[in-house]
Structures are given as C-alpha cells and as structure tokens.
Amino acid sequence: MDWRRFGFIFLVIAVLFGVVVAIGSKADSPVLIITSMLATTIAVATPLTLGALSGIFCERAGVVNIGIEGMMLGAAFFGWLAAIYMNTIFGFAPLPSLLIGVLFAMLSGGLFALLHAVLSVTYKVDQIIGGTVINILAVGVTGFLNRQLFFEKGSIFGGQVPHAPGVLPRIQIPFLADIPVAGRIFDQQPITIAAILLVIIAHYVLFYTPWGLRTRAVGEHPRAADTVGINVAFMRYANVVIGGMLAGLGGAYFTLESVPSFEPLMTNGRGFISLAAMIFGNWSPFGAWAASLVFGTAQALQINLQFYRPLIPDQWAFLQNSYIVGLAPYILTMLILTGIIGKTTPPAADGVPYEK
C-alpha cells in the first residue's frame, strides 16, 4: 500500500466526516459526531471487509470469485433460516440460535464456494461465468425459499414471518469501551470484531505461513508449485472454500447482526463493492480493510446524515435526498476502479485454470 493510496483514503474519509460535522455541529459536539460516525463506519464496513478477505483468499490462489455477492446473499438467508428454526421449531434460546445461524451461514457460503471450485478448478469453466452462475443461483434460491417458507399459505411458518431471535448482542471491549465518548467505537457486535481479527489472521496466514506461501505460489505460477510437489487443485479448492466461508460470515452480518430479518436482494451489491476494496487494497488484507473503511464511511454518511436532515442548509439541498447520498459508495467504487489512484497488480495466474 503506497502513500498515495493511503493519502486518498484519509482524504475521502476526512471530507465525508467533514460534511457531517459541518451540518451536525449546530446540534451536537464534533467529537460526538465523529465518534458515532466512526462507530457506524466500522460496523457497516464489516461485510465489505469479509467479502474482500474472501476475494483475497480465492484470487491469491488464482481463482477469480465474482460470486461473493451471491455467497453473501445465500449465507444471509440460510443463516437467518437456521436461527429461526433453532429458535422457533427446536426451542433454542436466542443467543445459541443466532450462533448456530452464523455457523450455517458460513457453511452455506462454503458450499456455494465449493460449487465455484468444482466449476472453475475441476471443469475449468470460465471463472467469471462460474461466479455469475452463483450470483443468479443465490438470488433465485433465496427468493423462492423466502416466498415458499414464509409467505405461502400452509407453509411451515403458516404464511407469516415468525418472530426472529433478534440480533447478536454488543460486546464492550474491556477498558477501551469505558473511555468517555470515544468508548462508543469499541462497543461493537461480534461479527464486526471477528472481521477485524480475521484481517490480522489473514495477513499472518498469507505472508508468514507455509500455507500462505503455497497459496500465493499457486496463484502466481501454478506450474512452479506443481514441480515442487504442491497439489495445485487442492490448494485452490481449499482456499476458495475458505473464501466462501468468510463471505458466508459476511452474509451473516446482514440478518444476524445488522437487522433481524431477511429481504430479497438485501446484500445490494456489497459483494461487488468488496471486490473493489480487494483490488484497491492490492490483494492484501490490511489494504482491503482500509479500502472497506472508505466505502463504509460513504455508507455511514447516509446513515448519520439522516439525524441532521432538518439542519442541512438550502444550498446543499441535494444532501436531503437519501437516495442521492446513498449513491456515494457506488460512485466511489467506479472512481477507484478507473485506476486514477494508482494501478494495482493482481496475482499473475489470477483467473487462469491450471492445465497440466
């Protein structure tokens, strides 16, 4: 991650924070605004971070995965479904139900990824098409099951959405969460905290362990890996499935941590934005996390501006329209992908099936 890139990240975050502070300072203190915006940013960046980590594991091993969006959507649904089953049918308490939901979300992400691995590693199908298949499949399957299970008469839940077991509880990080005002930043839900830990773990795995060395070798020069006895197909399968489980955890964020419900298409392009974060972060976990925070800030802008809507001055009236503000992450994505903030280099064998 070069300085130009970091500079850009700081600049965007500063400008977006500045906008909210400028508008909201009539009602609240700047410190309060910044803290609450920072807390929101970290939380909403979670699925992006996990999606980007998912992409990093796949692509570092040489498999392009544009199916992250679908994997997240599928995981969001199946995780939520599992939690409801546990809670209402099997009578588990809310917290264990939610945790089992998270497990199922990761499992379903892993299964979608396994499909992707079969298509792209074993059958050498064009990986973009494989990913697209997963995206379409996830939309279809979740939409269909959502309707059949909850909205059809005579279905298992009797045509109505059961009372969900709520969302994962907040965890106050000891000491840090006790800091006045700024402590709010360290009061987060478990998947958010896990995502940050996973960034650190992913960095260590990729750059400091034999597994990471082999994974990167397989993504850079699979034949070289093959000649020293590394099983290229196995490494690709394993990393794609790991990636799928990370995307699954990202999917769980939507229905088990953010809101206690499922809506069709609720991932809303987050999987694709996380790919942009992966690219902008140059396929490195910390870089991708920083990029996710930029996108997270753009989203936090929309959320935090709502509180101060009456205070928006007339000349900035367009900011009152939450749809326009909601475009920010997508505009940012396009801007970043044009490469004006410096070029990045993907793994050399990214997207290339390995032929013996």
């Binding site: 400091y208 990167r216 070289a224 000649t227 020293v228 006895g229 013996k356």
Partner: protein, 505 residues
C-alpha cells in the same frame, strides 16, 4: 547385474500421446558423477523422457531404476524424494517471491508454524557458497537477471539434496560467457558426486561439456557416444538422420537505399517500465541487420513498436520513406512490411482458422480476395493452393485448421503469407525458434533469398549462431539500448558475447 556406478536407468520406456509416439522403447543410463548429454531436435522426445523421470508424466511401458532398484515415480514429490532435481527450460520460479521463498516453497522450514526465513536464508547462502553459485537469498527473483535465476533453480534442487540433476536446455537463455560459467558450476557439482543430465540441441556445447552423449531422434535413441569419437558434423547427422549443411551459403550483400530509419525510439512494456531506451538504427534494401541480445533486453517490444503492435513513447520510425510512427499495423503493412512474429501461435496465426484463411490475413480485404464486403472464396482457395505448393507447406489440404500443423509447417504458412506479398522490408523475430533442422535450413535460405531480391531484413534473434550466419551487420541490444553495431564479417562470438552481457569495456 547392473554396473554399480549406474545411478539412474530407464529401460524400454515408451510413452504415447494421441497420435504421437513420443518415446519408443528408450534405454538410457546415467553414471555417478558424469555429465550425460541428451541431444536431439525439438520434438525428438528428450523433454518427454525427462518429464517421465521427474514424475510429471507416467510412462505407458518400461521401467525406471534408481541405484539399481526399480522405482515408481508418480509425481514430482516421488522424484524429489529419490534425489532427482530438475531445472526446467522455462524457470519454475515465482517472480514476486524472494530467492529464499522460492527455494523453500513446498519444503518449508517453520518455527511454531511460522515460516523460518532466517534459517532458510542461511542455508541458501551456505549452499551457494559451497558450489560457487553466489545468490542473494533476500533478492526478489523477478528482479534478477536470467543467469542468476538459473542459479536459484540449481540451489533449489540442492536444497532438496538432489543427487541427480536434470538441466533442460539451460543455455538457451544465456550469453556464451554465462554458459561457460554454468559449465564450470556443473563441473564443480559433478566433482562433488552429483550426476547431471544435460539436455540441449546446441552441438558446440555438447562437445565441450559431455562425458557421454545420447542422441535421440523421433522418439528413439539413435546411439550413445563419447565426445572423443565425434565432431559437430557427425553429431548433426546423427541427430537429423541425414547430412546437414551447417553453414548457410550466402554471397556479398549489395545494400541500396535506406528502407527503415529508426530514431531515438523509447518504448515502455506493459508494466510501464522503459525497456527500449533511445534506440536509433537503419536498415538498407538488400542487407540483413541482425539484432543480437539475450532475451528480455527490449527486443520483443522493439519489434512490436516497429510493426504497429505497441505505441512508442518517444522517437520516430520511417519506413519506405513514410513516417509510420504511431500508425496501426494495416498502414504499416501497406507501406511494405512483412513480419514474422516472435510467437507464431499467438501473434502470427489464427490457430482456429484454416490454412487458406491464414494465408490471406494481411490481404483479405483487397481484391482479388474481396469484392465490396464479400470474400471471394475461389480466389482465397486458389491463393492457398499456389502458396502451399510454392513454399512446400505440408498440410493434408488448405482447409485444415492451422492448429493441426507442426510448428515448422505453421512457420512456413507465415513465411508464405508474408513473403509472397510485394514487400520492401522484412522484420523477422526469432524466426526459427523451436523448429527442426530441416525447417531452419529452409527459412534461412528464404531470408537470404529475400535479401538478394533487394529487400531490407531486420533479423531479431536470441540465437547468436543464427545472427552470425545470416547478418551482414550485427547490432547488439543490452538493457534497451544498442550498445554496438559491427560488420558481421569482423565479429567474433566472444566479442559479441561480452557486449550481450553488458561487460564490454
């Protein structure tokens, strides 16, 4: 029983690929501490045999013995365990990894699950000292010159305690001096008991380094000989199966008008690195200018710019009196360019199209091949029949997919297409790479014939012998610059080699 000295033996190894008998009952043995050269043309089955020994392929029949014991080698893991190491023709190194990372890959040393880079670096240093290889374990492989990368490959095998070393065409990417250094290293290794199989098709170096020579031709072993009983001509006829003219016959050049003028050309590669740095030269009608140099010194990008496949950053190109700087390939071709590209399969042919269609790739839009927007199939077919006959392209019919032809015949299709047009300048990049001796002879003759017809020829080749045999003037490219231009008659291998290595005073 077997000779105690024989460390590796292949008995009756047969390997079939669809439609090809790549190895036909091959017998081969390697003695401890010897350099055994495996000589043969491209496609003779040398690499197939070695890939079987190394476990990348599995033989259909026959057996392999290591130290007199029959072994089963199913994967590189097995061969590594048996002490066999291979340095592949195309290096098996990850460019973005350090030397130490490349060396340990697949056989990592760890401390509590974390890569132990320090220990590996120390071992790499020790090994490279021991064998005079001199590599820096912390350097990024992609930033090392090819000669050093090759040493990294050797260190990689030694790190795995290889006792048998297979070197596949190791000198293809080296300057003559680097090759000599490699031979010294090889001698040092055999002195320590390592046995080496050295694969090559270069006759000169065979006689210089071999203890024994096994010659292969179309999948069979022709014989095993010693260098004392051989000379180049005898080896060549063993390799090809007939008498071969090693010298190209060529008269005096009669240079006329300047046909190509290149001034201060600067070119970047795909990564934005400046790879051609201020090159100026000219080619006259009726002469061959050879550009010598080790691969990767900017020749590829130079050829791409001259043929309109890449934009120059700076400088100008005049062809046949026209300024063609920044033009696309079509106007350049129309200005009288014939181009034999470096990679015939990717840039020379549409492999999925028929031979007939490939033969009109430069002219299909012009009469007689097109009327308005309609292709005149009859004219295309007639053209194909005529050129196939004239240039002796061995194809069952003009309507066979070009991908089905052998490398030599694919190259003949390109030569036929390019040289049959009314051209003023020929740019030929590595025109004989990977071809058999017969095709090489043929293409060399065609290039000389072009020159004698008054066409200017720019020949770019990494094969110094080819450059010296064909050129009238020789320019040497090193790190993106032309470091010298000499009269071919006065040039010596040694001097050119020094220029190619950038070490000429």
């Amino acid at each position: 029983m077997t000779d105690n000295n024989i460390i590796l033996q292949a008995r009756g190894v047969t390997k079939r690929f669809p439609g090809v008998l790549a190895n036909d009952k091959v017998d081969f043995d390697l003695k401890k501490g010897e350099i055994h050269v495996l000589l043969g043309e491209n496609g003779a089955g040398k690499t197939t045999l070695m890939n079987i020994l190394y476990g990348l392929y599995h033989q259909d029949e026959g057996e392999m013995l290591v130290n007199g014991v029959a072994v089963k080698v199913d994967s590189p893991n097995d061969s590594i365990a048996l002490g066999i190491g291979m340095v592949h023709q195309h290096f098996m190194l990850v460019p973005v990894f350090t030397v130490a990372e490349n060396v340990m890959l697949g056989d990592e040393t760890t401390r509590r699950g974390i890569l132990d880079r320090k220990t590996v670096s120390a071992k790499v240093k020790e090994l490279s000292h021991q064998h005079g290889l001199d590599v820096d374990p912390e350097a990024l492989v992609g930033q090392l010159p090819v000669g050093i990368q090759q040493r990294v490959e050797i260190v990689k095998t030694l790190y795995r305690n290889a006792q048998i070393l297979i070197l596949d065409e190791p000198t293809a990417v080296l300057t003559p001096q680097e090759a000599d250094e490699l031979f010294v290293i090889m001698r040092g290794l055999t002195a320590r008991g390592v046995s080496i199989i050295f694969i090559t098709h270069k006759l000169k170096e065979v006689l210089a380094v071999a203890d024994r020579i096994t010659v292969m031709r179309s999948g069979r072993v022709v014989g095993t000989v010693t260098p004392e009983e051989m000379n180049e001509a005898k080896l060549a006829s063993m390799m090809v199966g007939r008498e071969v003219i090693l010298k190209v016959k060529k008269g005096e050049a009669e240079p006329k008008e300047k046909i190509l003028i290149v001034e201060n050309l600067e070119v970047q590669d795909d990564r934005g690195v400046e790879v051609v740095r201020g090159v100026s030269f000219e080619v006259r009608e009726g002469e061959i200018l050879g550009i010598a140099g080790v691969q990767g010194n900017g020749q590829t990008q130079l050829a791409e710019v001259l043929t309109g496949l890449r934009l120059a950053k700076k400088g100008s190109i005049f062809m046949n009196g026209k300024d063609v700087t920044g033009k696309t390939p079509r106007p350049i071709i129309e200005a009288g360019l014939a181009h034999i590209p470096e990679d015939r399969q990717r840039h020379g042919l549409v492999l999925g199209d028929t031979v007939a269609d490939n033969l009109v790739l430069c002219t299909y839009y012009q009469p007689p091949f097109a009327k308005w927007i309609v292709i005149q199939q009859e004219a295309v077919d007639a053209n194909a029949r005529k050129l196939i006959e004239e240039y002796d392209v061995r194809t069952p019919s003009p309507f066979v997919l070009t991908s089905k032809l052998s490398g030599g015949n694919q190259q003949k299709v390109i030569v036929a297409r390019e040289l049959s047009r009314d051209v003023k300048l020929l740019i030929a990049s590595q025109p004989t790479r990977g071809l058999d001796v017969g095709s090489i002879e043929y293409i060399h003759k065609e290039i000389i014939a072009m020159r004698d017809r008054g066409i200017g020829v720019l020949l770019i080749s990494a094969e110094l012998d080819e450059i010296m045999a064909l050129s009238d003037r020789i320019a040497v490219m090193y790190r993106g610059q032309i470091v010298t231009t000499v009269d071919a008659k006065k040039a010596t291998r040694e001097e050119l080699g020094l220029w190619m290595a950038g070490s000429h005073a």
